[in-house]
């Protein structure tokens, strides 16, 4: 994830926690800043913003727990999408 994308994530989260500064490794859910409804919104926003569909085991709080976790998760998804599983026509 680029620095600019990471900043987009920080800005999105910040708008939903009353403009508080949230550290990159701070656990959003443990702090009580956000609730489960926000988790659903966050997942939908990540899918739309970074164009990575979430399914199956992706749908885990561990993947969206912090700014850093989201960054790492998006990177993993992109690698998986770019790498295996696809096919090309000749």
């Amino acid at each position: 994830m680029t620095d600019a994308e990471r900043e987009t994530v920080r800005a999105f989260i910040s708008r939903h926690v009353h403009d508080l500064k949230v550290g990159d490794d701070e656990d959003l859910f443990a702090t009580g800043y956000v609730n489960s409804l926000f988790a659903v919104q966050l997942v939908m926003w990540i899918e739309r913003t970074f164009d990575v569909p979430l399914e199956g085991t992706d749908l885990d709080f561990a993947n969206i727990r912090s700014v850093s976790a989201i960054g790492a998760f998006v990177d993993r998804k992109r690698e998986a999408l770019a790498g295996g599983g696809g096919w090309t026509s000749t």
Partner: protein, 285 residues
């Protein structure tokens, strides 16, 4: 009870349909607006897909399988085989009244008629039917598939059998219930509507910002959501209609709706469902 009818495909009806279809019931979801049914189908599929995030311990369900158990229709007559109907239409007497005459005619004898209302007395709704013993209040909270408990209201004529059948139906889909007597707003909204209304007056008087009002309730009281966020979640139109019912029925000036609420409803700022209320949700819709 196998076949469940759900009337009204707004926020609550959609959640209730998801709940029962996920629990294995055959569901008929009825709305007068076809586009509302299309939106409901999408929301239910999305809700089922995201459920593992919110309830990791529950078995994963296939969104297509769950929506496949729901018949989406604009024809109320399709409720003729329902064992139980949960009605979730707008909180207005002029909308509910003709609907209950139709439900009374269409639904089979002995079907439980559940009234999902924020404030209207169940006894009064039951009087619209020829079977008041079968009518029970079913006050689901939003989001219906996630909340563990339902406020169940016993109307004046509601039979013990009806309460027990509805309790068993809820238990079958993992919901508990608290049974209370009939009163406008019941227990939850007699208290909650006063709270959200007073929070609006505080905002209007400039005592605190919306964000700060909500933050106090969350960070000082440990509530999951502040009162203005709660109002946004309920829908400001529903909050206004509920306050009007409480104000008219109880003749208590303390339920006078805050003028700011009326202005916001007139302006189309209805909360989460419209993208904007006391807070903005536009970018997360």
């Amino acid at each position: 009870m196998k076949r469940i009818g759900v009337v009204g495909a707004g926020t609550m009806g959609t959640g209730v349909a998801q709940l029962f279809a996920s629990g294995g019931h055959e569901v008929v979801l009825v709305d007068v607006v076809a586009s509302a049914l299309d939106r409901a189908r999408e929301e239910i599929a999305r809700g089922v897909r995201l459920m593992p995030l919110l309830r990791p311990a529950e078995p994963r369900r296939d969104p297509g399988e769950v929506t496949g158990r729901i018949r989406f229709t604009t024809d109320l007559e399709e409720l003729r085989a329902a064992d139980c109907v949960v009605e979730n239409v707008t909180e207005k007497w002029e909308v509910k009244r003709p609907l209950y005459a139709d439900l009374d005619r269409i639904c089979p004898p002995g079907a439980v008629l559940g009234v999902n209302t924020s404030a209207m007395p169940i006894t009064r709704i039951a009087s619209l039917t020829g079977r008041p013993a079968d009518v029970v209040g079913a006050h689901f909270m939003n989001p219906a598939p996630l909340k563990p408990t339902v406020e169940v209201i016993r109307g004046f004529h509601t039979s013990d059998g009806t309460v027990e059948r509805f309790r068993a139906l809820l238990a079958g889909v993992g919901k508990g219930c608290v049974v209370v007597g009939d009163s406008p707003g019941f227990v939850t909204n007699r208290v909650m509507m006063l709270t959200v209304n007073e929070a609006m007056f505080l905002l209007r008087e400039g005592v605190a910002s919306a964000g700060d009002v909500d933050r106090l309730f969350k960070e000082c009281f440990g509530h999951a959501m502040g009162p203005l966020e709660t109002a946004d979640l309920i829908g400001l139109d529903t909050v206004l209609y509920s306050l009007e019912v409480l104000y008219d029925d109880l003749n208590e000036s303390k339920y006078r709706p805050c003028p700011l609420l009326r202005t916001m409803v007139d302006a189309g700022l209805l909360g989460r469902k419209s993208g904007r209320g006391f807070h903005s949700y536009e970018e997360v819709r």
